[in-house]
Symmetry: C2
Subunit: 385 residues, 2 copies
């Protein structure tokens, strides 16, 4: 008798999350009920408008802002681009200066580099060995022409929580608006735009059990942006395009659930992550934690097995879905930009594994995952001898 195929274990929730069944249930009827054009005054339009605004209210509630401060977008990348490009007049880019950090998502770093190509000043702040931005460096980087500081709330690889509150305080003193890419934080930890003091905040639906194709942008009342997508006057003129009431409702429901389950999820996810970390450190010699032990997303474990390729580890455990932190080709290693920015040596970073726990995992799964990884590392190390 052959053993049944083992069920897969998904530990890549920072990559993307499945759609929560309750989110799906909230969206399903709306495909048929709220398909109207929210800009139309007829009954189908009004029904769609209602669902759209209900979704907006729920997103606002999770973030602690007014519904009128929420703009729906197609996702985190669009939200980030809207802010970065929306604060600079590209015709006279050299009159502007933007500050960001070396560990941002490409959807912040690449628009920032694009602005620099156009002639804008750009400061990319370094991070320390734990992957943290120094708020003092923000103070030093601010120039009279600085129009934005953009520092993420939680890093997607290390889970490191950045000192956004302190950064906002410093920038605010100088009258400089602050943006934070909160794609990895929203839904995992409490996020309050008031407490953070930010002017702009990006949300990516698919990181918090909403579908792909929807995101949000918090734009503090009184702040303005040049739209990324010009056209008709949807979303108070900040984002053209017929709004999807269905996707907005999906993101709204995901935010409602996140708020409702926040304490419970954080506790459960943290317990699983901590157990996974404990087991791996017990069973894998020389294991290194990338990023901080404290001040980290409760679901994120980013470790390195020195001298062993992360990709080869995962190849040997095909029922475990996780990410690496480096790409190895022939004999060269390309570390992720986050590990590079942290100054992690290639022989350590090459063995990086990112294990990110989520709502659907069980304690049994993380224990099984730890066992599989430890076995696989032993096997690879034996081969090498």
């Amino acid at each position: 008798m052959s053993k049944p195929a083992p069920s897969p274990i998904y530990l890549d929730h920072n990559g993307t999350t499945p759609v929560d069944p309750a989110v799906l249930a909230a969206m399903q009827p709306l495909f048929e009920e709220a398909w109207g054009n929210p800009s139309s005054p007829s009954a189908p339009g009004l029904r769609a408008r209602e669902a759209l605004e209900a979704g907006r209210g729920r997103v606002a509630r999770l973030l602690g802002c007014e519904p009128s401060e929420i703009v729906f977008t197609s996702g985190g990348s669009e939200s980030n681009n809207t802010v970065l490009k929306g604060v600079v007049n590209p015709a006279e880019a050299s009159r502007y200066h933007v500050i960001t950090s070396s560990i941002e998502h490409p959807a912040v770093l690449n628009p920032a580099l694009y602005l620099a190509e156009l002639g804008a000043g750009l400061t990319v702040l370094p991070v320390d060995g734990q992957g943290l931005v120094d708020p003092g460096a923000v103070r030093e980087a601010i120039e009279p022409r600085t129009v934005l500081v953009s520092v993420m709330l939680a890093n997607n690889e290390t889970g490191a929580l950045q000192p956004v509150r302190e950064i906002s305080r410093i920038a605010r003193e100088r009258g400089v608006p602050v943006h934070t890419d909160a794609a990895q934080a929203v839904g995992k930890i409490p996020v309050d735009v008031g407490g953070l003091g930010v002017d702009f905040l990006s949300v990516a639906g698919h990181k918090l059990y909403a579908p792909k194709g929807v995101g949000a942008l918090f734009v503090r009342k009184g702040r303005s942006l040049t739209p990324l997508i010009h056209g008709a006057a949807q979303e108070r003129g900040l984002r053209a395009g017929t709004e999807s009431a269905v996707l907005a409702a999906g993101l709204g429901e995901a935010c409602r659930i996140a708020a409702e389950r926040m304490d419970r999820d954080m506790k459960a996810v943290r317990a699983m992550r901590d157990r996974l970390q404990e087991l791996l450190f017990e069973s894998v010699d020389g294991l290194v934690l990338n990023g901080p032990q404290e001040g980290r997303l409760p679901n994120t474990l980013f470790v390195s097995v020195p001298g062993v390729e992360g990709g080869r580890i995962l190849e040997g455990v095909p029922t475990l879905y996780a990410s690496t932190g480096a790409a190895c080709h022939d004999r060269s290693v390309t570390l992720s930009h986050v590990l590079s920015a942290m100054g992690v040596p290639p022989e350590v970073g090459m063995g990086a594994l990112r294990l990110t726990v989520g709502r659907s995992n069980s304690m049994g799964q993380v224990e099984e995952a730890a066992r599989m990884i430890a076995d696989r590392v032993r096997e690879l190390r034996k081969e090498e001898r």
Copy 2:
């Protein structure tokens, strides 16, 4: 015994369409099966990638291009902005010139005006009384610095089919790329990018029975664009953001259905539109057709009842969902930019009604709609005497 409430009649398919049940059926299982991140090499990612590429193949098939020439976007507005802004370096906008027409959708006109604000040259071509662009005017407008001609394939109000093929031929002779906003044409009439000779073509999912929140952009092989959304390398570097396999599959299925039903739908929809037109012209004195009789989308009827406010006509027939072509406030009339560009007098344009037939309508419905409109107009005219 009171009469049962009449079922509503939706004649606003150029505004938006409901999601086709088959499109919904194609998407439903994918929310659970294809939720992975298409950039991830793990099983959930591969499954999502597969659905994404299948969707892309179907969109490409409808348009007659290679799948690699299709970029998924969040909708028509994003597709249009991607082209308009993607061909101009905003840091030296004055070295660029763009040609468009006065009857484009705001998602073309407003990005074009934004480019002009940055310093780019902009020619907005007039239209004739039928709402048609003269290809000869394109020839005259081309300058050495012209980098784009953007003329829509079918107008959303009049349904007028623009001479895009001739415009492409003229522009191509001068080496100028051509974009067409085909949001209103795709799914309603055969659209072939080869025959049209265009370099860029925009598709809006929700105009062809796919959900809102998804669109596509055809980018001819060899043409390049600066991305509107910078970030990770999705969509061959042309559009960052985690792709929604579900939405792509929805748009793909909508395109497959459109191709399959094209002949049948065109015939049925045209018969209903023609009947509606015939009945209205029979029963409403002085009715005016806005736009051309021939060379028009088969589903579109844009008429004016001179001297009567379109909005007041629709107010009196609350179970008929349609659009107007003007907004009346106090004693002043603001015509749509399309009617204005056509030189329609305010006293005629104020009474504009856009009636756009779709897949779900029946001949009985259009006959009922004609009766309701005619009765309502009679009522309003009586009041005025």
